[in-house]
């Protein structure tokens, strides 16, 4: 049996090493300032910032959210200060916290992604760039690059070319596609070092009082435990065809047990998002619980457990320590 002092909890994306596999999910932690009140940001793997655009954006009108069974719809529309203010204020602050930083970027055109990448290229302190090609809250569904293999490739190629070889690129994909492995293959061959799976699913709630769509933006992104099985499936499918590509799995994780499920499916990192809204310390709780579970199930390292569910004979020695938690819904 391994213990906490010898257990290797670290993970890698491209050349970058992270001491733990826990990341905030983009859009669920702003730029970290609000959460620093509840735990030291340096204790998690990295803060993944809210997707930043070239120009300041006001976002969509309210109502911007609707709670749904075990989930929520959000319709923020990428409100943000724009890259200039972000680089001037948020990055230096995160560095004072000794937080590892993954910057999420979002553009309206292929060129905008490249311009954003150029702005980030020489900024010190950035561990990786997450390329959000899958935000559902845009006016034109044609702008969801991740729904089309050709556009997905174009964005990632542009970012790769611009940013050079040092900063790892993580492509964030949408589950709202017929075959997510097709998109995954395209972005990896275009130069992505890792994948974030999954973004929210496009959804709608109709207000039965007003008899109109509840959200100001009419549609929104569904997140939370309601989408977890969809996310686990996506991670499993993509890991099967791209077993060497690091995946950050996300979608409804709110306990260590949930995170473990993603690791077994093939994720080498996990993001906690919507759970933060319900519990500001959720990511720390998940981190502590996941580590405990991995150790108690006999793994010497996180990497040993990655993709374990794919093994033909996964009923061997590591079965010991299994208990009733396994059937959690």
């Amino acid at each position: 049996m391994h213990n906490a002092s010898t257990f290797d909890f670290s993970t890698k994306i491209g050349h970058t090493w992270f001491p733990t596999p826990l990341f905030t999910a983009s859009g669920c932690a702003s730029s970290g300032k609000e959460l620093a009140q509840f735990f030291p940001l340096s204790e998690i793997g990295a803060v993944v910032t809210k997707s930043i655009a070239l120009k300041p954006r006001l976002g969509r009108p309210t109502p911007r959210m609707a709670e749904t069974p075990s989930g929520m719809l959000n319709s923020i529309g990428l409100q943000g200060p724009g890259i200039d203010a972000f680089l001037a204020d948020d990055i230096p602050w995160l560095m004072t916290q000794n937080a590892r930083i993954v910057v999420s970027i979002s553009g309206e055109t292929v060129d905008e992604y490249s311009i954003l990448a150029r702005r980030l290229r020489s900024v010190p302190g950035i561990s990786a760039v997450e390329v959000n090609i899958s935000c559902p809250n845009v006016e034109n569904r044609g702008l969801v690059f991740a729904c089309d293999p050709v556009s997905s490739r174009a964005v990632i190629e542009g970012v790769r070319r611009t940013i050079g070889g040092d900063i790892p690129i993580i492509a964030k994909l949408s589950p709202d596609v017929t075959d997510i492995t097709e998109i995954a293959r395209e972005v990896v061959s275009a130069g992505a070092d890792g994948l974030s799976l999954i973004n929210t699913l496009l959804g709608m709630v109709i207000n039965t009082q007003t008899m109109r769509p509840h959200l100001g933006g009419k549609t929104g992104g569904l997140s939370g435990p309601a989408i977890r099985p969809v996310a686990v499936r996506a991670v499993y499918q993509v890991h099967q065809v791209l077993p060497k590509i690091p995946i950050i799995g996300m979608g409804g994780i709110r306990s260590g047990r949930d995170a473990f499920e993603f690791i077994l499916a093939g994720a080498s990192g996990v993001s906690v998002g919507t759970a933060i809204f319900g519990n500001p310390r959720a990511i720390m709780d998940v981190q502590n619980e996941l580590k405990e579970i991995l150790i108690s199930r006999g793994f010497a390292s996180l990497s040993e457990a990655v993709g374990y569910a794919h093994r033909e004979d996964s009923t061997g020695a590591l079965q010991r320590g299994a208990d009733s938690e396994e059937s959690e819904g």
């Binding site: 300032k33 309210t62 959210m65 929520m72 435990p225 933060i276």
Partner: protein, 284 residues
């Protein structure tokens, strides 16, 4: 809980287990008293709490925000906080069903509080429905500063007026308006407002209630050039400033419109700066 005070945002906020000390029905509302120990001393009128609802296996995944009605110090329990909860939805109904002794997961204190004048002023407090809840705590503080405190409360019907006996001690006058005339005068809180503030007899208006009421008060306050601090109401997913769902369009210092979070830059906002005509409207 680690005590990190490096962030200026919600610097006194902590996530705690708070025990329910009492839960009483008052009209159509529940008056819930919770034990918050020394966090009570950091809570100011206008601050709010965010509470996890439904228990560990709940399908209700978002925290619920409630205004703090009053804080007090009790010899037996230490710092306590009173919340006024309307059992409207599944989360608030769950909260209203919690008995004495139940333990709640609470983040507190949150948000921007009402500004308190440093010299005695004449204050008018206006509450709609259970929006009156934080105004009683505010009245106590203002009275302690030597302010004259007049209060107007309104609701559609008498059962929706929240005006506890003990709260009335801090106010100089209390006028009630109901739309159906079941309590006080028939009408809305804005009916007497123009006249009340016209002659310069009010220095500052504090308000809390539905957005339509706050917008109507703001219009009158701007015309009369009276300062208006209002606690806004917009649905929140997190209450701590990360979800960006509770935004209010406001005029910024540079003259442009900015989308401010009602949980961080609010809930108390300058009524004159809120762009009431843009709330819920698409923007360029």
């Amino acid at each position: 809980m680690v005590g990190l005070n490096m962030s200026p945002i919600n610097r006194h906020a902590r996530q705690i287990e708070a025990v329910v000390l009492s839960n009483k029905r008052v009209g159509q509302y529940h008056q819930i008293m919770i034990s918050v120990h020394d966090l009570a001393q950091h809570a100011r009128p206008g601050n709010f709490v965010a509470i996890a609802v439904g228990g560990d296996s709940s399908a209700l995944i978002l925290r619920r925000a409630f205004a703090i009605s009053r804080v007090s110090h009790r010899a037996d329990y230490g710092g306590t906080m009173e919340l006024i909860v309307a059992p409207h939805g599944a989360g608030s109904r769950w909260l209203c069903s919690q008995m004495d002794g139940a333990s709640l997961d609470v983040v507190v204190p949150l948000g921007t509080a009402f500004g308190i004048p440093t010299t005695p002023v004449r204050a008018l407090l206006i509450g709609g429905g259970y929006g009156s809840a934080p105004l009683f705590g505010l009245a106590e503080v203002l009275k302690g500063r030597g302010c004259r405190v007049d209060m107007i409360l309104g609701a559609s019907t008498s059962g929706k007026i929240y005006a506890p006996q003990e709260g009335k001690r801090s106010v100089t006058s209390l006028n009630i308006y109901t739309e159906d005339g079941s309590a006080g005068a028939t009408g809305k809180v804005t009916d007497p407002l123009r006249e009340m503030i016209a002659d310069g007899s009010v220095d500052v208006i504090y308000s809390c209630g539905p957005m339509g009421m706050l917008a109507a008060i703001s219009k009158i306050a701007v015309e009369a050039n009276v300062v208006h601090q209002c606690a806004v109401e917009e649905s929140m997913a997190c209450g701590i400033g990360v979800c960006m769902t509770c935004i209010i369009p406001m005029r910024t210092d540079s003259g442009e419109v900015g989308m401010m979070r009602s949980c961080i830059e609010g809930p108390v906002m300058d009524g004159e700066k809120v762009q009431w005509n843009l709330v819920g409207k698409p923007h360029a």
